[in-house]
């Protein structure tokens, strides 16, 4: 990592997991003046008590973070972020499902909670920078700040960080960018940090139990039940809420008796119709992205690339990315796949990298209209993206 000497104190976001523990350790060893902070975004007393097994914010997580902070000899505090988290992440999560789209709470949490709200608190504590254990690298040159995928392909988290602004990058540290997960665990073991082998939190941090239940319970009577239809409009099944489905989903449809595997191709939140089709109907030639943020300094300065550019487009967290052509149309990016088509889900993050698939250029929210809708009987080439 580029070694910038920072003046002032750094707030390190600590979750109690090994990544943030090692991030704090590395910065402490570099001699920076750090303060460990946990953000409690979810209160177990309201959702099943202290023994509830969700994947984060359990009292034992804070106890882990506290003991790591104690070992490093740094101050440690827990802040109440529940209201903000509810407002910026959970509400949006639920309303996105209601629109038949697929939310990405991690993006919202990073943008609004981890980097904006936390930064605000850090300033009120007299701290000038924020650090996290994200696997991502930042480099600085005469144009500005550049963000790169983390060295560990399997752990790279750059996809979730497309929303960072240049000014924010100037005051954020990512100590783990050039390390692999196993290197991080080894550093923790060597330092005697007890969370060295703690399992990772999987899935959505605030959901324990089936996701469908979590969302269904909160939507209550706002759930949208309906039918499954195929391309010809024939009804092939029923469901009790569109919130349970996402584009490209194959499992949990409850539809049997067909030869080829079937996928969710489209979700109509007004009628409750879920279009099911084979793989060929799932893939589309392109998509549009709104609510964009450009990180690359040149694009950041001009609100996007002025001309058409070729990029690697990633439409899901575990998607390796495919070549695509991008042009700006007002505030929206129109993206056309070049060699390989795929199936973007509206609501997810569409993130763009350079052609080496290393530097994160920018990203935004995938807009509806990129799927094949049965009711309009549109063939793939004419898809209204």
């Amino acid at each position: 990592m580029e070694n910038t000497v920072l003046e002032g104190k750094v707030v390190v976001a600590m979750s109690g997991g090994v990544d943030s523990s090692v991030a704090a350790l590395i910065l402490a060893e570099q001699g920076l003046d750090i303060v460990g902070v946990s953000m409690q975004v979810w209160d177990y007393r309201n959702h099943g008590g202290c023994s509830s097994k969700a994947t984060c914010c359990a009292p034992s997580d804070f106890a882990d973070a506290r003991s790591v902070a104690d070992k490093l000899g740094i101050p440690y505090y827990v802040f109440d972020f529940e209201e903000k988290f509810h407002e910026k992440v959970i509400s949006k999560f639920l309303s996105t499902y209601q629109r038949g789209e697929t939310p990405n709470p991690c993006v919202d949490c990073n943008n609004e909670v981890k980097f904006r709200e936390l930064r605000g608190r850090a300033l009120s504590l007299g701290c000038t920078s924020v650090a996290t254990g994200h696997y991502v690298s930042v480099k600085h040159d005469s144009d500005g700040y550049h963000v790169y995928r983390g060295s560990d392909d399997r752990k790279d988290q750059s996809y979730f960080l497309y929303g960072l602004l240049q000014e924010e990058l100037a005051q954020t540290l990512f100590p783990l960018g050039e390390l692999t997960k196993s290197e991080v665990r080894q550093i923790a073991r060597d330092a005697g940090i007890k969370t060295a082998d703690k399992p990772e939190s999987q899935d959505i941090c605030f959901v324990s139990g089936p996701l469908g239940d979590f969302v269904g319970k909160r939507l209550g009577s706002d759930k949208k039940p309906g039918v499954f239809v195929n391309r010809s409009g024939a009804v092939i099944g029923k469901h009790d809420g569109i919130h349970q489905f996402t584009i490209g989903q194959r499992k949990g449809l409850g539809i049997s008796g067909h030869e080829a595997p079937l996928y969710v191709v489209d979700i109509d939140h007004e009628s409750g119709e879920v279009l099911i089709g084979p793989r060929e109907e799932l893939e589309v030639p392109g998509f549009s992205v709104g609510a964009l943020n450009w990180i690359h300094p040149t694009y950041a300065a001009h609100g996007g690339p002025v001309n058409e550019i070729d990029v690697i487009a990633q439409v899901r967290h575990k998607h390796k990315g495919v070549r695509a052509r991008l042009r700006m149309d007002g505030d929206v990016a129109k993206v056309t796949f070049i060699d390989e088509w795929t199936s973007p889900a509206p609501g997810q993050a569409g993130v763009f990298y350079d052609l080496q698939n290393k530097e994160l250029l920018g990203g935004g929210r995938i807009l509806p209209g990129c799927t094949n809708r049965a009711s309009l009987n549109i063939l793939p080439e004419e898809a209204r993206w």
Binding site: K9, C50, C57, P59, F79, D80, S124, L125
Partner: protein, 399 residues
Amino acid sequence: MDANATYGLLPEVTDSLTQFLENFRSKPFLNPSSIHLEGQSPRAIVDEARSQLYVQCGLQENTHRIFFTSGATEGNNHALAYPFRDLDTPDRHPRKVVTTSVEHSSVEEPMRQLEQRGVEIIRIHPEEEDTLSVDDVLAAVDEDTRLLSLIWANNETGIIHPVPEIFRRVRERYPNCLLHTDAVQMFSKCKVNLKSFPFDFLTIAPHKFGALPGIGVSIVNAQRELGALLVGGAQELKWRPGTENLLGIVSTSSALKVLPKILQSYENSIRYIRDEFEQSITERYSSISIVGGDCEERLPNTSMLYIPGVSTEDLVVALDLEGLACSRGSACSSGKQLGSHVLGGMSYPKSAATEVLRFSFRADFPKEELKTVLERLFLCLDRSGVATTVEESATLSPQ
């Protein structure tokens, strides 16, 4: 400045503990209730500590029982559980409790549990930023009241309630009503005369005046038929079985010897430092007010600031980073700060619970340090955006 949370070990206490451990190095036998010869020394220590308490409180063995517990939380739980130990058996025992809305959680939580089990709990609000009204309490108590439980001095606002007077009047009218007071803050900050009023349970926490945490003192009326909460042994004359916490008792004993000096310092010196502290702050920030600031009866060391519009969660941390400790209500088991619940009875907006800051000075706070404390506090308050009086008047444009 968070003495109300815990005082910290007095040097005299550390000395006595070190001495004690040294004395016992050769015969490390610490069970005061043993029948063996070895038990004699530790036994003597417990007996002496207890006698000391009787003397310092001016009480007699035939009228009051003094026994050691694990802390005031246990003591308060005992006072509330004992009278209702037979709740599940059908009987004609009265089932009403009168208490306040500003109790410590070790009283409030057991109250809630009693409520869930069918006991009627009447919570009296103190008068606006003032003490409990004697008349309000008297009006609420009747023949059906089994227990009256009143906190003597509130740990957050410092407001002192007229418990002796209330207890005297209630005892006169309703002699069957049991009287309990959480005296944790009052006993550790002010001179009290425990002979001057009737009570049945009184709880004290020695770590609030410089002893070790993990030890409590309960004083119980010996002339009533009151009994133990825990059972299973003969220690403390069966009032509180369990092998005694010798170190806690030793520390209590030595802290008690220093207590009169501490109380004097609070009254003669700290009170004025606290007043100056409050004045300096309210002069500089017109939006900040002192909760209970106009109340005549307040603990001499406690100051609760109300800073409207500022969530003091960050302030507590910022001040801690500057070396100033203060608090704002209790902490959750995660370490996250909860707000204060004592404002509920007064006409503050709901948001006020998270906009208060409590400072509680130790008896040995040096006057010279006040200037530095204020400087750092002002730095943090300014950074939080609290407008100073100067700025406010500057925004008034000339007409």
